[in-house]
């Protein structure tokens, strides 16, 4: 860089006048150098214009990732996931909601209560429970048909197959599916709902009712 520097000349704000001033100040310089000077000036003015336009639009803010912190957070997330035991927590919550009767009459599992009642007073409670169970089953059957309108056809087919199958098949299926998986019920979801209602003692009584309703 040359020292002492040649005196600085402030070009005018007008683009064309500034080009002329470049020409005047570099009057005895070769043509090529004057041209390159003007090119440089043009480029500078253009990028200044672009900067001014961009600052008016939305600026994207780049936030750098910090590797150590990312790694630490991922590790903690994994450990938190293991500690959370989500499936168990969800199941517990659902069972609690069932106990607290938030679902109302949709599910009827008073099996515990009925077993206790049966143990205490045999004959009377049995007849009562029969009648109640039939009523409830009618209700649930009706609701299942409402559901069928909304849910997929394949589920409905499963339900149909179950209803028409014999007792033995049902028991076999029950055992098979119990042996398969621990908590999840991938297939035969709505189909399995029938099992708790149809106890082995009562199956013969209630099945014909279910069949007629299906038909």
């Amino acid at each position: 860089s040359p020292f002492p520097f040649p005196p600085q000349v402030l070009l005018s704000k007008n683009y064309e006048k500034a080009l002329e001033e470049i020409d005047e100040n570099l009057i005895y310089w070769p043509r090529f150098i004057r041209h390159k000077c003007k090119q440089r000036f043009t480029k500078i003015t253009q990028y200044l214009i672009r900067i001014r336009k961009l600052t008016l639009k939305r600026q994207r803010k780049l936030v750098p990732l910090r590797r150590k912190i990312e790694r630490r957070e991922n590790r903690r997330e994994e450990k938190a996931l293991i500690a959370a035991q989500l499936d168990n927590a969800i199941e517990k919550e659902l069972l609690e909601r069932l106990k607290q009767d938030t679902y109302g009459d949709i599910y009827n599992f008073p099996i515990h209560a009925f077993d206790k009642a049966l143990q205490q007073q045999d004959a009377e409670s049995e007849s009562e429970s029969d009648a109640e169970k039939e009523d409830d089953e009618e209700d649930t059957d009706k609701r299942e048909f409402v559901e069928a309108d909304d849910s997929d056809l394949s589920d409905f087919e499963d339900m149909d197959k179950l209803e028409t199958s014999s007792e033995e098949e049902e028991e076999v299926e029950k055992k098979a599916s119990h042996s398969k998986s621990k908590g999840k019920t991938p297939l035969k979801g709505p189909a399995r709902r029938k099992r708790p209602y149809i106890e082995i003692e009562y199956e013969e009584e209630t099945e014909p009712i279910a069949k007629t309703k299906a038909a």
Partner: protein, 324 residues
Amino acid sequence: GGGGPVDSAAEDGRPPAPERVLFPPTFSVSEIKNKQRRHFMFLRWKQQQRKEKLAAKKKRRKEREALGDKAPPKAIPKTIENQRVYDETTVDPNDEEVAFDEATDEFAPYFNRQTVPKILITTSDRPRGRTVRFCEQLSTVIPNSHVYYRRGLALKRIIPQCIARDFTDLIVINEDRKIPNGLVLSHLPDGPTAHFRMSSVRLRKEIKRKGKEPTEHVPEVILNNFTTRLGHSVGRMFASLFPHDPQFIGRQVATFHNQRDYIFFRFHRYIFKSEKKVGIQELGPRFTLKLRSLQKGTFDSKFGEYEWIHKRREMDTSRRKFHL
């Protein structure tokens, strides 16, 4: 041959009759220079430790059985949740002040069933594959939600338009290199804005299950472990995304589970096999969120009033301190 009474220098790492070898008392396994022998000695020491531990356990169990009912109760193992630093802002369920606050904050109209949630889901500029699909799946999970593409619009101008069209919530999914990594959730009529860092997003096809897609029924909502005041407000924000009356026919449940400041979102279909047993089947996307900041008004990066920001230097100092 079979070892004499004492091996004097004791540097023979593998004496054939180990019980007869005595080492000088200040000798430790780590001083052996030969790696193989050192390793061998260390393994032996480890096995011995394990045997001793097992023997001690058995003894303790026998003692406990011998005592029968008079035995002292079992010791509870320490976990991070047990050792958690007590947070002063933990909500007591009977606290009147909190109840009053909640009755008068921005979610009161929702909880009084005056407003029906209507949600707008959008992304940052130019979303790529995964983000787009994730947005679609999210909109099937959340009822009454609409996905709109961003196309370079400024949030500050979108928000008044949303309010005009009666939206209650706005979700912006931020994307980086084709994967979603951030979530901004703002309650629209002048409600709080929460900014989360989203991680481990799994789309529906990546989840191992054999279920079908979520139906149009309104799912139930489970909010677990939101204990502090901050956690409560965030929990209510999530609850206000879903309509207040779940349809139990659908048997779907959306879970927001908070564990050590990470909020896990899952979407399941449940089925009650019996009174004591329920089966769940996962469908729908899953992701985890970590709260980064909570603003009082709607989204405003410059002039917003922050209720809570995650400051790393101050808040990440203790491993047992959590804020949600």
